[in-house]
Every structure is written in structure tokens, then in C-alpha cells.
């Protein structure tokens, strides 16, 4: 029910980060997530990073999909 997009961290300051989502930069509050590094992806909702994106898990889901596709 909530528009949220995965955006990449390009700059980090205390409690704030500048993130990029497909060419659009926005400053977000990062109080609700753990330490961020440049290059990390976060889920952005209502001006806040509400979760970090887990790249490995993303890969695993894609592999799962791959598996379905290949499946007979």
C-alpha cells in the first residue's frame, strides 16, 4: 500500500544519505536503518530509508526464478 523504491546510496552523512533512484537524487533520513555505505541500496518510502536491500537475497530470488524458467 505504500510506494517504495530501491535507491542507491551515493553520499552518507549523519542520519542522512543522498540516494539515487534511476537518475533522481533525493536526500533521505537514515535513522531507521543500520550503517550505510556508498553503493548500498535502500528501500525509500516517504523521505526515509526504511530498510536496506540485501543484494545476495535478491540474487537468490533471481536464481529461484531462473530455476522456474528452466524448469521443464
Amino acid at each position: 500500500m505504500c510506494i517504495a523504491v530501491p535507491a542507491q546510496v551515493i553520499k552518507v552523512t549523519e542520519n542522512k544519505a543522498l540516494v539515487n533512484f534511476g537518475g533522481v537524487n533525493i536526500k533521505v533520513d537514515t535513522s531507521l536503518v543500520d550503517v550505510l555505505n556508498i553503493g548500498d541500496y535502500i528501500l525509500l518510502h516517504a523521505g526515509c530509508a526504511i530498510e536496506k536491500l540485501n543484494k545476495k537475497e535478491a540474487q537468490k530470488t533471481l536464481e529461484l526464478f531462473e530455476h522456474i524458467l528452466k524448469d521443464e
Binding site: D29, L32, L43, H45
Partner: protein, 361 residues
């Protein structure tokens, strides 16, 4: 756009759809409880591509839809005060109250401003120290921690002219309520991905454990959604009931502990009124004692006049999946996006709004 495009693969979608067609042996009703899922289903035309015996219904997953009319009326009453600035997500602007809407009030000159974050509303309070800046606090668990954060920051920074007109809702208990209704008959749930990002998987496990209903937590790209349906059909066929998380890139089993901590620091569970569903136990939040000064009701004495459900509006049954918008007498002719009667017609994600926009009959 990384982590979006990868989940848009027409070939994969085709394959999964083929499998779904092949595997669906009986009638299956699936409820998605997130408006953004509803939107994505409609935008991608997924409904068309499913076998006719799969019935997708939309639950109470649009925070605007479920907000009762008195809430809008109260916001309007607040906006009429000279010293108040109303801040709100754009979504609320067109929602009809008893005899007006924030949009009409804006047109009449009230100070009502659209923000994309409660933190922007807090900023506005700092910049307008002589005004009371009221944020219209609606949303589910996705938004709740951010609103909590804004309140926490206001208190921390000793900002006294910021407050919330509170109507935040929580998801799991209302889902329980919906499924418990004897008229309701759901074979699988598409669980709200972004709510799950905050609260994790556990709060949805009652679905499989208590109610023998399979559920999938999924993302919002079409492959995410079709995969969810694929797994729900699979579980329904196998009568194997679990809560499957295929949105692991975002959703951890335990959710976001920092966010839930913030939410629990400021809020405590409470009853909440849902438009069409009535007052439901433990489906909303109220401010904890320490933060009660940030509840606008503690600051400004506004009389709340409970609002009856508009006559003939079937919102309640539509939210439970018992009725379809096209069964409502008012649909389209009387009730449409220019003149929405029930809240389901307001947002594009509202079931009636979506039916109208995409001319579903």
C-alpha cells in the same frame, strides 16, 4: 533502475503464467492486501492473463480507503483555524468528507500543503513557529515508523507546534478479522511486501498456522507478483500451507528492528475505526503517554462527529472481497473519481477506483 528491471522479464512471466494455467485445477480466490499490489496487477494487466478460475480480490490495503469520513471532516475543521497549517500526503487531498474535501478547502484558501514525508512537515513546523503544523498521519506499518520518527524528533528538538491527526493502522489483525467473517472465503494471501519489510514474516504466520491459508510475501514487479500467484496455486494444490517470503531482498524474517523499535517507542496498539469495517480491536496505534502532546487532539479541542457509512455504498463488503464494485448501485454513475462516494473510489488503488479507471466490468 537496479532491482526493478531484473524483476521484469516477459519470458519468465510467460513461463510462470503457463505453469499457473496448467496447475490450477479448482477455483482459487486470492486476496492481495496491499494497494500497491493491486495497482501493479492492474497496470500490468495480470488479471487478464490468469486462468478464469483464479479470482483476485483486493483487501483493505489502501490506507486512504480505510480512513473513516470523520477523519477528513476533522482535518477540514482543523484547516479552518487561522493558525493551523495542514500537511498531508497528496493521496488525501481528494478524499470526500461530509460536505467538502481538502481539495475544495484548498481552493477556498485554507493553508493545506502536500508533503512527501512527515519529516518535511516537521521542517515546516520549524519554519512557521507561529503556526500549528498538523500532519495527517495515515498509513500502515510501512509509514508508521516514519511518522513515529517525526514525533520523536519533534520531542527531541523541543518543537512544540507540530502534531499529528492520528489514524495509522496495522495490518495483521485486520486480515484476521477479514478471514474470520463466515462470508469470506479466501484460498491464499498475497501479503503486503512493504509492511513485511518493517514487521517481518512472523506476524503473518497465523494465516497458515491458524487458518490453513497459504500466503506469499512478494515484491511489486510483475515477476514478483506472478511468482507469488504461482506459489499460492502450488501450495493450494499441494494443500501445503506456509508463509513463503519471495521478497527476501527487502523482507527479513524479523523485519526491521530499528523501525519497529521506533514505532513502539512512540505508539502503542489501540482499537481503530476502518471505513466499511467498523471499529476493530488492536488494528491501530495511539501515542504513548510520553508523546501525547503530539496528538493534535490533546492540543486543539475539535469535536469529532462520527460519520455514518454513505447509504448504498458497499465499501465494507468490497474490502472483504464479498462484493465487487460493479455490484454497487452507485458505481460509475453516481460514484466516480470526480465524485467519489465511498473511499474505495478515491485512490487509484481503491478497488472501486481501479475498477472504474480500467473499466473492469
Amino acid at each position: 533502475m537496479k532491482y526493478i528491471k531484473e524483476f521484469r522479464d516477459p519470458k519468465l512471466a510467460q513461463k510462470m503464467l503457463n505453469d499457473i494455467w496448467h496447475n490450477t485445477k479448482k477455483d482459487i480466490t486470492i486476496m492481495e492486501v496491499c494497494g500497491t499490489h493491486t495497482m501493479s496487477i492492474l497496470k500490468n494487466g495480470i488479471r487478464d492473463l490468469l486462468p478464469p478460475n483464479i479470482n483476485l480480490i483486493s483487501g483493505p490495503g489502501c490506507p486512504v480507503c480505510v480512513t473513516p469520513q470523520w477523519y477528513i471532516d476533522t482535518a477540514i475543521a482543523l484547516s479552518e483555524r487561522d493558525n493551523v497549517i495542514i500537511t498531508t500526503f497528496g493521496d488525501m487531498i481528494k478524499v470526500p468528507g461530509k460536505s467538502s474535501s481538502l481539495k475544495l478547502e484548498m481552493a477556498l484558501g485554507r493553508d493545506i500543503r502536500i508533503v512527501i514525508s512527515p519529516l518535511d512537515a516537521l521542517e515546516m513546523a520549524k519554519q512557521n513557529p507561529k503556526k500549528e503544523v498538523v500532519f495527517l498521519g495515515i498509513g500502515f506499518e510501512t509509514t508508521a515508523p516514519i511518522i513515529a520518527l517525526s514525533i520523536y524528533k519533534a520531542k527531541n528538538e523541543n518543537i512544540k507546534n507540530f502534531s499529528i491527526l492520528q489514524s495509522i493502522k496495522t495490518m495483521p489483525n485486520v486480515m484476521k478479522e477479514v478471514v474470520k467473517d463466515p462470508q469470506v472465503n479466501i484460498d491464499g494471501f498475497l501479503c503486503p511486501g512493504h509492511v513485511s519489510a518493517i514487521i517481518g514474516v512472523k506476524p503473518f504466520e497465523f494465516l497458515s498456522e491458524e487458518l490453513n491459508t497459504p500466503a506469499v510475501i512478494a515484491g511489486f514487479e510483475y515477476c514478483d507478483i506472478i511468482a507469488a500467484i504461482y506459489y499460492l496455486v502450488d501450495m493450494a494444490n499441494k494443500e501445503k500451507y506456509e508463509v513463503k517470503n519471495i521478497y527476501n531482498r527487502i523482507v527479513k524474517y524479523e523485519g526491521n528492528e530499528k523501525a519497529t523499535a521506533m514505532m513502539n517507542k512512540v505508539f502503542v496498539l489501540s482499537n481503530s475505526e476502518w471505513r466499511g469495517l467498523g471499529n476493530i480491536k488492536d488494528t491501530g496505534f495511539k501515542m504513548k503517554e510520553a508523546y501525547k502532546n503530539y496528538d493534535v487532539k490533546s492540543k486543539i479541542d475539535i469535536k469529532i462527529i462520527p460519520s455514518p457509512i454513505p447509504k448504498d455504498c458497499l465499501c465494507g463488503e468490497i474490502l472483504k472481497g464479498i462484493k465487487k464494485p460493479t455490484q454497487c448501485k452507485l458505481f460509475s454513475k453516481v460514484c466516480n473519481p470526480s465524485n467519489p462516494i465511498g473511499a474505495c473510489m478515491i485512490s487509484q488503488e481503491g478497488t472501486c477506483g481501479a475498477y472504474y479507471k480500467y473499466k473492469i466490468r
